[in-house]
């Protein structure tokens, strides 16, 4: 007698399983099929082409109701099973029908995960899972000026966003992580993908936390982020992940974990109930791609036909594509011992490739911009081919036959003719090429004919590379020291290119300038971070993880791992209240050493990291702020008492010092910046060995720069004399800014002046009043961001991060 088989869910898994069953044992079962969706089986993977308009729904249907009926299947489409009674061996559907089974297959797939934000149940909040969702999105495209927000920058979210954009919808993608598709792509590929999406008119917000979905009359109106940004939308698509649909099985008392537990034969904890697809858990694995699910379909058909079969979860590599983006990602990037990367970048072509190698096999590949070799790598991954023989040339793909080696000057060669090379004299690449065309063959020729590199000289390297790129072998580039092993470019080149190519993020620098490592090293990261924040104060977000420990923790680490805390004393002036607060803090936090520093303030040495936020909070209460004693930035302005108290004093040196410190504090500079202001040439504040020094005289203020009092000792050089305090502050701001914008990271002013010459600096901040004003204006813009107390911010917002994430000592004791 034929047995009764009921299947719950007519998705991709069920469709494939039935196909196999009818091949293996056509008449063994009398099949009844329930599906919550009101139609037969379709290829869910192809919903994106339907969304983008490349395909119609009919084209992606794999098993129609008619097909099932021809096979003798009784279909209940649009009917959901709400209960399984294992004792009676029946299922109950949502229209009340009860049906008996001998064997039951659960193929309920998964449910999209909906983040339970306030407002998630508003009308217009959907997932991206089925035809209905797709149709809702398509309908939105017909509305004029429609706006949509997609939460989730993974594959599904980006497919939804790309499809919506093609339908003319104004789309914003909100992604919680720092870059798109962080599970499949590294930061560099994520950066390129983002660029491509932005070019398509999609707005992308990374590191963005959703706070609330706002509605009006029960319908979605906008998404509110936790930084207060409101993104208006008519439709909100949540694509943040899926969860196996196990509720029905769990209620029936079947063994479930993340999914419904099945054995190798796809049988659940009840011998009469089988399961497959995204709803199952097999040996701890759950499934989100069709390849293993199709293997399960074969096994389940055999099990039902009474044949031997066992499901093995093969390590399948998977490929993905985002509509309209030249992107390829395959295999596995997960952590494991002994994995290595091979990275290749061709900034000129916007190409990025990365291979992950383990035991001489490729286990993962990411490609962007040029994915032609993707399938070849995919084959190597699948076949677990030994690549040790071709390792050196592997990344160039199968066609590589001793081809041209990587050109370190690709970045320069690719610059357009109107790219500015020499900022001081406004010379662009085309002019230099013309000069070469007219017979220039050396750097000096270029200097005399175009003036390029004749001023501050930071573009020398670039000019040489233009010469080299144009003249080929006739020009030998003098060896220059590159930033570090990650690049062949010098600091000066990198600074110039960041400006001329408007590179505004670290991944942009790594990609466009052809870094050879995935994300730099401890040498280049702090430098690039500094250059970016100095050049793009409003656009670039300072990256704490690219800073040395002292600047990240806003305190100086000591050799025993404790920290020193130095509050600011403006111009060396303090009050009894401040001193009491410092004394109280020293008592409260058991500070072992309290020392007066050379910069006229007080150092609390030996504070534990965990205590930092609290001690800062206490000091803040007394009005004390960070002294930045740890930063490559403004440290101190040392003063003498000046005309207020000293009989020799010519001007209010203390007052000027306080004003300068209040003006400059918080600013980041290539290296430390220390100032001194003395009230007369007796120079009690030692102003003439500072980075910038002021010596007051009867007729005004003598400003000098480039002193040193470290391993090197050097007297300052005279910059100019001004008559008013205001002008002194203006010249010093401009001086600070010209240093910030041009010097190499970790060059003190004296070292940098040695390279560019005092005359060039005088030209910028003394002689050319327009340039000075512009420098001051740019300094002010930057200070709107950085003139604030990091201690207050960390104590109130980041105190958590100063504590261990967990204390296992306590758990162990319990």
């Amino acid at each position: 007698m034929t047995q009764k088989l009921i299947i719950i869910g007519a998705g991709m898994a069920a469709g494939r399983a039935l196909e196999h069953l009818f091949e293996t044992a056509p008449d063994a079962y009398d099949v009844t099929l329930f599906n919550a969706e009101p139609h037969g089986t379709y290829n869910r993977i192809m919903l994106s082409p339907v969304l983008s308009g490349d395909k119609t729904f009919d084209e992606i249907v794999t098993h129609t109701a008619e097909w099932y009926e021809e096979q003798g299947v009784t279909c209940h489409f649009g009917e959901k099973v709400v209960k399984i009674d294992r004792a009676a061996q029946t299922v109950t559907s949502d229209n009340g029908g009860v049906l008996a089974y001998d064997k039951l297959i659960i193929a309920t797939g998964s449910n999209p995960f909906i983040v339970p934000l306030p407002g998630h149940d508003l009308d217009g909040v959907i997932a991206y899972r089925d035809l209905e969702d797709t149709n809702t999105m398509i309908a939105l495209g017909d509305k004029p000026d429609a706006k949509a927000v997609v939460i989730g920058g993974g594959l599904l979210g980006l497919e939804a966003a790309a499809g919506l954009a093609l339908r003319g919808v104004d789309v914003t993608v909100v992604h919680i992580m720092g870059h798109l598709m962080e599970r499949q792509l590294d930061e560099a590929a994520g950066y390129l993908l983002r660029k491509a999406l932005v070019d398509k008119g999609i707005t992308v917000k990374c590191s963005a936390n959703s706070k609330e979905i706002l509605g009006e009359n029960g319908k979605v109106k906008a998404l509110l982020l936790d930084d207060g940004t409101e993104l208006p939308c008519d439709l909100l698509v949540m694509a943040v992940g899926i969860r196996p649909s196990v509720a029905l099985a769990a209620e029936a008392g079947l063994a479930t974990g993340r999914g419904i537990h099945v054995d190798d034969q796809m049988v659940t904890s009840d011998a009469n109930i089988l399961s497959l697809g995204e709803c199952v858990e097999h040996n701890g694995d759950i499934f989100g791609l069709v390849a293993p699910i199709y293997d399960q379909a074969k096994v389940i058909a055999k099990t039902l036909a009474g044949e031997e079969a066992a499901f093995v979860n093969k390590d399948v590599a998977t490929k993905l594509k985002v509509t309209g983006c030249d992107l390829f990602s395959a295999g596995d990037f997960a952590e494991a011992q002994g994995r290595e990367d091979i990275v290749y970048r061709d900034p000129a072509q916007g190409v990025y490739k990365r291979l992950v190698i383990e035991d001489n096999r490729i286990v993962g590949a990411v490609m962007y911009g040029d994915t032609a070799d993707g399938n070849w790598f995919f084959g190597l991954i699948k076949d677990k081919e030994d690549i040790s023989e071709m390792r050196d040339t592997l990344i160039f793909g199968p066609a590589f036959q001793g081809g041209s080696p990587l050109d370190p000057m690709a970045a320069v060669a690719a610059l357009p003719a109107d790219a500015e090379i020499c900022g001081c004299n406004g010379v662009c690449k085309g002019q230099i090429e013309d000069a070469i065309g007219n017979g220039a063959t050396t750097l000096d020729d270029i200097k005399t004919t175009t003036k390029a590199s004749a001023s501050c000289g930071t573009c020398t390297g670039l000019v040489e590379q233009v010469l080299a790129a144009t003249l080929g072998n006739d020009f030998v580039v003098p060896a220059a020291k590159s930033v570090c092993g990650c690049t062949d470019l010098t600091h000066e080149d990198v600074r110039r290119l960041i400006k001329s190519k408007e590179l505004k993020s670290q991944p942009a620098v790594w990609q466009e300038l052809g870094w050879s490592t995935q994300n730099g090293c401890h040498v280049c990261r702090p430098a690039i971070n500094y250059y970016l924040l100095a050049d793009w104060p409003l656009e670039y977000q300072d990256d704490a993880q690219s800073r040395f420990v002292n600047e990240r923790n806003h305190a100086n680490i000591q050799k025993d791992g404790t920290y020193s805390v130095v509050p600011r004393m403006w111009g060396g002036i303090t009050t009894p209240d401040e001193l009491r607060a410092i004394a109280n803090a020293a008592d409260k936090f058991d500070v072992p050493t309290v020392k007066v520093t050379g910069g006229q303030r007080i150092d609390l040495l030996g504070v534990k990291k965990e205590d930092l936020p609290e001690i800062w909070f206490d000091l803040n209460q007394a009005g004390l702020v960070s002294g930045h004693a740890y930063s490559k930035g403004l440290r101190t302005v040392k003063t003498c008492v000046g005309s207020d108290h000293c009989r020799f004093g010519t001007q209010d040196s203390t007052g000027l010092g306080v004003k300068l410190e209040k003006h400059l504090w918080g600013s980041w500079t290539p290296h430390k910046l220390k100032l001194g202001v003395s009230g007369c040439p007796r120079n009690c504040a030692e102003a003439t060995c500072k980075d910038i020094g002021v010596v007051c005289v009867d007729s005004g203020y003598e400003i000098s720069i480039a002193g040193a009092a470290g391993m090197e000792v050097k007297e300052t050089e005279h910059l100019c004399k001004v008559t008013t305090e205001e002008e002194a502050i203006e010249v010093i701001s401009a001086m600070t800014q010209v240093y910030r914008e041009n010097a190499k990271y970790l060059d003190r002013i004296w070292k940098w002046v040695d390279k560019v010459g005092l005359d060039w600096i005088k030209g910028q901040v003394v002689e050319n009043l327009e340039a000075r004003k512009a420098l001051v204006a740019r300094f002010e813009i930057s200070q709107t961001v950085y003139r604030s107390d990091p201690w207050a911010e960390h104590a109130s917002k980041k105190a958590e991060t100063y504590q261990p994430v967990a204390k296992l000592t306590l758990e162990a004791a319990e």
Binding site: I176, M177, G178, E182, R183, D186, E187, F333, A334, E335, A336, Q337, G338, R339, D341, T517, Q518, N519, G520, C521, H522, R525, P526, A544, Q545, S546, R547, F548, V549, R552, N553, I557, K559, D560, G561, T801, P804, V805, A806, K807, L808, T809, E811, A812, A813
Partner: protein
């Protein structure tokens, strides 16, 4: 293996680290660019620098005190320096970071 739920992956800054205090010293838990997580001893074998405070690049960290570089995967010092730090197994489950504490809780036998 004896897995303990330490924190959410987002508690650790990208290309950064946090520490876990244990009976046998601090463990640094790193998160790389690809949001992979590695756990190692927090103590640099050179002069005891806190590795969790170092700059994380690729799958390596640079000690904040004198710039020794360690592989997070093998715990081996890179380049000319010689040294080794202990590494501990981790895994990520539903966005939670799990640490294998078999070697970290000598007092408690794994049940």
């Amino acid at each position: 293996m004896n897995w303990i739920d330490i924190c959410s992956i987002t508690d650790i800054p990208l290309r950064g680290a946090r520490i876990v205090k244990t009976a046998v010293g601090c463990v640094a838990v790193f998160r790389t660019d690809d949001s992979e997580v590695f756990a190692t001893s927090d103590r640099c074998p050179h002069k005891g620098g806190p590795l969790s405070e170092g700059i994380v690049h690729g799958k390596a960290v640079t000690c904040p005190l004198h710039n020794w570089v360690f592989s997070l995967e093998t715990g081996e010092a890179q380049g000319a320096d010689e040294g080794q730090i202990a590494t501990f197994a981790t895994q990520i489950e539903d966005g939670r970071v799990m640490l294998d504490v078999t070697e970290l809780t000598p007092g408690v036998a794994a049940e």
